[in-house]
Amino acid sequence: MNNKKRIVIIGATSAIAEQCARLWVQNQPADLTLVGRDAQRIERVATDLKVRSPQSEIRVVQAEFLDPDAINATVVNIVKSGHVDIVLIAHGSLPEQTECQNDLQSCRDTLEINGVSPVLYAEAFAKEMEKANHGTIALIGSVAGDRGRKSNYVYGAAKGLVTRYAQGLQHRFAGCGVKVVLIKPGPTDTPMTAHLKGKGAKLAPVEGVAKQIVEGVESGKPVIYVPGKWRLIMMVIRTLPAFVFNKMEI
């Protein structure tokens, strides 16, 4: 056995998750399990992390993101080799809103990959962490989940599902050894948002976002907005009356 912090990342090839992984191994050697769908892409991330931190243990798991049985088996398997200190559930995809409106298949895929799948993973880890009475479940939500907007409400609905779910999970684990952290990034400069950049959107650098996430997960705060200014912005957006809100192009 070793005394390294055991961290599991679901969706380890996502840019935010990968930057978090770099910070974790940079701070001190860790025991990292990287979970992703595409074996070749996770291997690339793992190789890079091994160079950055030869003392870290880097494991790679190729997994299914939607099938409940497969998710359960993956999580049980991961937990079998030792208690998990942190699980960061980070996978997702951001489609064009119009695509979701025109194609129900795409609409369903968006809801599933951004909403249902993270919840299934979190639920599977919750069961295991409850037994151990130890661990932190960190979920990446989004400011898009705070109020439905015409520019991305299907994605927003999925992230809203994660928000409500995290709330319930926090209620369930209040006062025990399991912590639940919901992270709500604003628009971040990653491959997922590359198409927004072309439209002139202002995006936060991913390194800074990851740093705040790693610190936030450490502190165990229930809800983290990154960058912090989004807490204020979204408070205003949430409280705007409909007759004002509906006139806005957002």
Binding site: Q40, R41, R44, V45, T47, D48, V51, R52, P54, P191, A194, K197, G198
Partner: protein
């Protein structure tokens, strides 16, 4: 289409921007996009060498993964979008360092190879390409070329310093150098004129790994300045400096660098540093990359942007040529506070279009005042041409084609290795396509 500018901020032109984030899809994107394209890293080159107006830019900063590092041999393999900063931070604590780095570490490995960048230790270790053991090049016809000093050396010589025109560099292997730690013993020596500069340079080259100087280009062409030299030092564990980052928050409506501010700055800087002259222990980051903590400093030149003029002239005529250039600059009243004068070592570069050659290099920046600035450059060009010198393409946005052709005699040989699907603003301006 997205507006992209280079570091000099002289123009913003539309580009199709394609991010190469994944090596497994890079080849497909390079072959099957809108051509001509051009690899683009951090965009730290000053003029149009990193731009391809109306064309495609393949942005490589997502290719930022390490592949292998051997602590015993110091051999590092990485993707081409890895920043020199990230290499330094990874390897210095493990006893290794990049042998050659330019004045900023916020550049990619691919960009450092394509411009065959140099540093303060050229007289000892040459330029960046001298330490590259192999690289992977993807051509727009789909061919993947592996080359190095001992493997397809002709392709290697074309690609090192090849301005990105021979293909897209996606990976490289670099031989690092042993180092005791992040510290250097440094010394600042004021000099009153060019005679003293050259004497200091000659005296320092044998004993000091790093030499560079700041020159006051405004005080009447006399050439007073501050000579800075340094050697790696083993001083054990010391607290590292806290790098406070500042960002130039806005583009001011006019250049903050003007005749008055320059005169004040240069006089104050010279006397302050002269007063502080002597030996000290310095961390590598402020020594090698003094401006990296002032983010977006290029904004201070205002909305019209600025030019860099970096030339190298052979040593035998070097002093006269530098003197003549300083005189022209002083006469024009324009000038720069980032004026750098340095001698290059007596060695030829690997690359067919590499900039460094034996002699002395002078780098200056000028706010863009349109015609007035171009007129000054024409007079400087004449001096460089007469001295059989050359201009650094990584800094250039305006050199005439004749001067380029005269300065780079291996150009005809290079052209054969160009990728027909790749072009840049600079290549269209200086090579016709």
């Amino acid at each position: 289409m997205r507006q992209v500018t280079a570091w000099g901020r002289l123009s913003a032109s539309p580009h199709h921007v394609i991010n190469l984030n994944d090596p497994s899809t890079a080849r497909y994107l390079i072959c099957h996009g809108i051509h001509p394209g051009l690899a683009h890293g951090m965009g730290r080159s000053y003029g149009d060498v990193c731009l391809n107006p109306e064309g495609t830019l393949w942005v490589t900063t997502g290719l930022d993964h390490f592949i292998a590092f051997d602590d015993c041999t110091g051999r590092l393999a990485c993707e081409a979008g890895v920043l020199l900063r990230d290499i330094q931070r990874l390897v210095i604590p493990r006893g290794w360092i990049l042998p050659v780095t330019p004045g900023t570490q916020l550049v990619t490995v691919g960009g450092a190879i394509a411009n065959d960048v140099h540093g303060k230790n050229h007289h000892v270790l040459g330029s960046f390409g001298d330490h590259v053991q192999s690289l992977t090049l993807i051509r727009t016809d789909g061919e993947v070329i592996q080359c190095g000093p001992n493997e397809q050396p002709d392709w290697f010589a074309a690609t090192v310093g090849g301005l990105g025109l021979t293909g897209v560099i996606t990976q490289a292997e670099i031989q690092l150098l042993r180092v005791a730690g992040p510290w250097l013993e440094t010394e600042t020596v004021p000099y009153a004129n060019l005679d003293e500069f050259f004497r200091l340079a000659d005296d320092s080259e044998a004993e000091w790994e790093h030499t560079v100087s700041w020159i006051d280009c405004i005080s009447g062409g006399g050439g007073r300045g501050l000579f800075l030299r340094g050697n790696p030092a083993d001083v054990g564990e010391q607290p590292e400096p806290v790098g406070h980052k500042l960002t130039m928050p806005i583009v001011p409506p006019v250049s903050l660098v003007n005749r008055l501010s320059l005169r004040l700055f240069n006089t104050a800087y010279y006397h302050l540093k002269k007063w502080q002259a002597g030996r000290t222990i310095t961390h590598y980051e402020p020594f090698f990359y003094p401006l990296d903590n002032l983010l977006e400093w290029n904004r201070m030149y205002g909305p019209k942007g600025f030019f860099q003029y970096q030339s190298v002239v052979p040593r035998d005529v070097g002093q006269d040529a530098v003197q003549a250039m300083l005189k022209e600059i002083a006469r024009s009243g324009d000038g720069s506070f980032l004026a750098v004068l340095k001698t290059f070592g007596n060695r030829q570069s690997i690359g067919m279009l590499s900039f460094p050659q034996p002699g002395v290099t002078l780098a200056l920046d000028f706010p863009n005042h349109g015609d007035r600035t171009h007129k000054l450059f024409e007079r400087l060009d004449a001096i460089v041409h007469e001295a059989k010198g050359r201009i650094y393409p990584a800094k250039d946005a305006r050199m005439p084609r004749e001067l380029f052709e005269a300065g780079y005699p291996r150009l005809a040989e290079f052209i054969k290795y160009r990728d027909p699907g790749i072009s840049s603003g600079l290549s269209r301006r200086l090579m016709g396509s």
